[in-house]
Amino acid sequence: MGLFDKHLAYRDAYQAIRQAGADPFNVRLDSVISPTEGMINGRPTILLGTNNYLGLTFDPEAIAASVKAVQERGTGTTGSRIANGSFEAHVELETALAKFYRRKHAMVFTTGYQANLGVLSTLVGRGDHLILDADSHASIYDGSRLGHAEVIRFRHNDPEDLYKRLRRMKDVPGERLIVVEGIYSMIGDTAPLKEIAAVKREMGGYLLVDEAHSMGVLGQNGRGLAEQEGVEDDVDFVVGTFSKSLGAIGGFCVSNLDDFEVMRVVCRPYMFTASLPPAVVSSTLVALKRLEETPELRHRLMANARRLYDGLAELGFQTGPTASPIVAITMPDQESAIGMWNMLLQNGVYLNLALPPATPDSRPLLRTSVSAAHTDEQIEKVLSVFAEVGAALGIIDTQRKRVSA
């Protein structure tokens, strides 16, 4: 018996996937040319799965700020905030985030994953209750395991089911923290946040919304689903990331609750890890400013998303419930999903292959994420490659013609 024996089934499954072509979980980019284009296997490739929603990874001002920060502050902080102190820019970023979200407090984490680990394991403890949407991201599930609260799931995007589960624990002591996401990362659907907020008001408890995929994407000012739905006052905590619309890496939590700052000395995933390096903090500050000052990026993003979503649906692919910057195509089975993914890559389109159990409903998905930086020509190219490959593999009906160009 070896340590890895328990994982051998995964090794064999992974091996089988790799034998079908390229390795979908270890694609190598020879170079990145722009937010939407890279070189893969010596071929210019449209990047359609990078979560680079606003296309800010190559923003000249963000790059300049990053370079300046490296030169002035060095490559890393080499320690945690509690042990080695904060750089001015860490505090500046927290102030900017609090102001952006109109909240009193903001705390920055080294990754978005750690933000959920930290916040979920700290806000609720033994005797408390964590109520999660069933389709929550892995970081939410892992955060729930790091803490000591009792964990209950409710059916995905089902406020009635949430109500029922809260009612069941009506007379049980302890705090309740309800956790939902702004945009769900696999098929791009949004939470029915108005209804969920209403359930929270009726049944009591706190509400946390993970706006990782909706920050800079939804809401008139880009504050996410809570802003779009007009329920920001009902949301007690917003968690988010710098690794998507802000084009860097890092996570955060903002809140209006008194005593929030105590988290800095009790939240282990905040305390026991090195803080974000100066280059990342500085580019994020510029990207946040860009997000706030350039609503056109959001409009452009949604127009691109709509174009891709409608185009794929018109071709006969099975897409998610709503047009959002995450457009997922449900595939009939794993073999066709892997085959299609490989052929798309060979034809210069790179997107994400998502396999169960990481997907809802145990169906394989081809997951795309659109960027404001995609050009009309790129979206058209993607649609024509999808048409060709989908027809070649018999996934779409070849008789079906696109109505508009």
Partner: protein
């Protein structure tokens, strides 16, 4: 396999069949992972069905010690008695 007379085990069988989309029979000694081929996600979905069937909360952290259908049945009985 002997007929399942235990009501809790019977409900576990119904919940598992519903989530897995195939008929499964369970007994006390049925190993949930090995015998039923249930992964962690399917198990959580089975738990959700059972919460509704018995109108109770089954916190996920209580599943750490559950390996067999009998373990799960005992957990449910325990939670029902508590309520």
């Amino acid at each position: 396999m002997k007929a399942v007379t235990d009501l809790t085990l019977r409900e576990i069988g119904i919940a598992a069949s519903s989530v897995l989309g195939r008929t499964v029979e369970v007994a006390d000694e049925t190993h949930i992972g090995r015998d039923l081929q249930v992964d962690s996600l399917a198990l959580m979905n089975i738990i959700m069905e059972l919460e509704d069937a018995f109108d109770i909360s089954i916190p996920l952290d209580r599943l750490a010690s559950v390996e067999t259908a009998g373990d799960l049945s005992n957990l449910i009985k325990d939670l029902r008695n508590k309520g």
